[in-house]
């Protein structure tokens, strides 16, 4: 975790030095933390509450997205639905071990029926909260 990062931070001080810094920036630990952050990322904007910050939140939603670091784009966008489906297929191939006979082969000897076609979500699984023993 990034806790380790903090220990290696050259800005960390001990003893008397720490007291001096605290007096410089007020007693606030928040200010000390702010100084640490600015030391690491000098290009960080003054106010995180600006529109860049919030715009990223609006685009990605409620999940972590609010960094103001320039050049870091955490928005998940797809070029079109084909791109989306390709990305989903890649993810599925990585996650799922092959599950028996290939259901995709419906071409060739007979007209496919709805039962033959692969389900859109073959990974649909019951929640683990609902399965297993009650402890």
């Amino acid at each position: 975790m990034s806790q380790k990062q903090e220990e290696e931070n050259p800005a960390e001080e001990t003893g008397e030095e720490k007291q001096d810094t605290q007096e410089k920036e007020g007693i606030l630990p928040e200010r000390a933390e702010e100084a640490k952050l600015k030391a690491k990322y000098p290009s960080l904007g003054q106010k995180p509450g600006g529109s860049d910050f919030l715009m990223k939140r609006l685009q990605k939603g409620a999940v972590n997205c609010l960094r103001a670091f320039p050049g870091v784009d955490e928005i998940q966008k797809y070029f079109d639905s084909g791109d989306y489906n390709m990305a989903k297929a890649k993810m599925k191939n990585k996650q799922l071990p092959s599950a028996g006979p290939d259901k995709n082969l419906v071409t060739g000897d007979h007209i496919p029926t709805p039962q033959d076609l692969p389900q859109r979500k073959s990974s649909l699984v019951t929640s683990k909260l609902a399965g297993g023993q009650v402890e």
């Binding site: 919030l54 998940q76 402890e135």
Partner: protein
């Protein structure tokens, strides 16, 4: 007399390798407390039912129903994925034999009917028992079909789908005390719906600026008042809460009350606004107070006093000197929820390291407990935890640097009438109850 909390049950997989779909995203008791619903990132809802047969196992909940509420979708116009993650579940008060709940993902709200079937008709004249039709020429006598008991089956069916009303991501839904309408809130707008009508909704709050460059705050949560059907509140990313009265105007852009605690400008830092962002707002059952949760604290507000909260409880103040790291690992943006107990005397919220905190408003005492499988013998009293902020760590204390920030308790719920709580870790649901003598 302080409550002694005991482990009752834990639901979910033991393994550490958590599939994303299993991440619990919401927990909610129904109005009687008999049912407990959870939603997860995979769009599934699991409902548990309280075991009422034995009085000593009233903290025992068993699976009642589970269904796929939402599925992932693709917004073709914007080339964006719409997550199936259930953001919120809210129960309707029970009107008949069936139960109803609203569940929502980022874009679509659904009304689900959960009903029991414990009888089935048998003895049809024209159909065999397996459903195949009989040859009518073989029917020589008539009989009256009768209902016969069958194994209990619980069915969930979507009764209403409220879609296409939100450009931004829905963070809250709240049912009005009139039991006919409800609101849904996204980052910039709040809509009012009628439970029977899916093809239209009224926009009641719109904070989208004409020029998006001027955007300074977003809506983070919204809730209807528990008794006044015309009143609702919404919180913002800047730490303010606005109370609106729908009788004042159709569009409630002008608040009736603005709750904001003044901040000393000399204390301001880069992190001030981020940690002041309110992640949850909940009215007390009485309707007189509301509680807000920001990153480091829980505040209780008296609706009659706008200029400051009446009570403030520090959840994990020791994190204030870790804000730099918490910003880097994104934890500073975690959205913790909070809840009241049935009598509004105790409030609860989650923290890191699978710790959760309770604050007794009367005794002013607080306690830190841990949701962990290590204490999983039923009726074992939970041992209070303590985090050592700095200096010498006492025995049994945990130092701030040893906290696991991946183990966060964001969602907790308190039974409306009893001392039974549901606490969600990343992928497990813990149920605790007070010690039975």
């Amino acid at each position: 007399n302080d409550i002694q909390w005991c482990f009752s049950q834990v639901k979910g997989a033991v393994d550490d390798d958590v599939a994303e779909a299993d991440i619990i995203s919401t927990v909610e008791f129904n109005h009687s407390g008999e049912l407990l619903a959870t939603g997860d990132k995979g769009g599934r809802v699991v409902i548990f039912q309280q075991n009422k047969i034995q009085s000593h196992s009233r903290g025992e909940y068993n699976v009642y129903s589970t269904f796929q509420s939402h599925e992932p979708e693709f917004d073709y116009l914007k080339s964006l994925e719409i997550e199936e993650k259930i953001n919120k579940i809210r129960w309707l008060p029970q009107k008949n034999a069936a139960q109803f709940l609203l569940s929502t993902n980022d874009k679509t709200i659904k009304l689900w009917k959960i009903s029991e079937r414990d009888k089935r008709p048998e003895g049809y004249n024209l159909k065999e028992e397996d459903g195949r039709y009989r040859d009518p020429t073989t029917v020589t006598t008539l009989r009256v079909p009768v209902f016969r008991p069958m194994d209990l089956m619980v069915e969930a069916s979507p009764r209403r789908i409220f879609a296409n009303a939100h450009t931004y991501h829905i963070n809250s839904i709240s049912i009005n005390s009139d039991y006919e309408t409800y609101l849904s809130a996204d980052d910039l707008r709040i809509n009012l719906w009628h439970l029977e009508i899916t093809d239209r909704s009224f926009n009641i709050v719109d904070i989208k600026p004409a020029n998006m460059e001027e955007l300074t705050e977003v809506i983070t949560a919204a809730e209807f008042h528990p008794n006044s059907c015309n009143t609702f509140v919404y919180s913002s990313s800047k730490g303010t809460i606005r109370l609106c009265d729908m009788r004042a105007s159709a569009l409630c852009d002008r608040h009736s009350k603005l709750f904001e605690e003044p901040e000393d400008p000399s204390n301001r830092s880069f992190f001030s606004e981020i940690i002041s962002s309110i992640s949850d707002v909940k009215f007390s059952h009485s309707g007189r107070y509301m509680m807000t949760r920001d990153y480091l604290s829980v505040k209780i507000w008296d609706l009659n006093m706008e200029n400051r909260p009446v009570e403030t409880y520090q959840v994990h103040e020791y994190l204030r000197s870790k804000l730099c790291s918490l910003y880097e690992n994104d934890c500073i943006f975690d959205k913790f929820e909070c809840c009241w107990n049935g009598s509004d005397s105790v409030v609860m919220t989650g923290s890191y390291n699978n710790f959760f905190r309770m604050f007794d408003r009367n005794t002013k005492r607080d306690i830190t407990l841990e949701a962990s499988r290590e204490n999983n013998k039923p009726r074992t009293v939970l041992k209070p935890r303590k985090v050592c902020a700095s200096g010498k760590r006492k025995k049994d204390e945990i130092s701030v640097d040893s906290l696991d920030f991946n183990k966060k308790i964001l969602h907790t719920a308190w039974h409306p009438k009893e001392n039974i709580i549901a606490v969600a870790t990343t992928n497990n649901l813990y149920i605790f109850q007070d010690k039975v003598n």
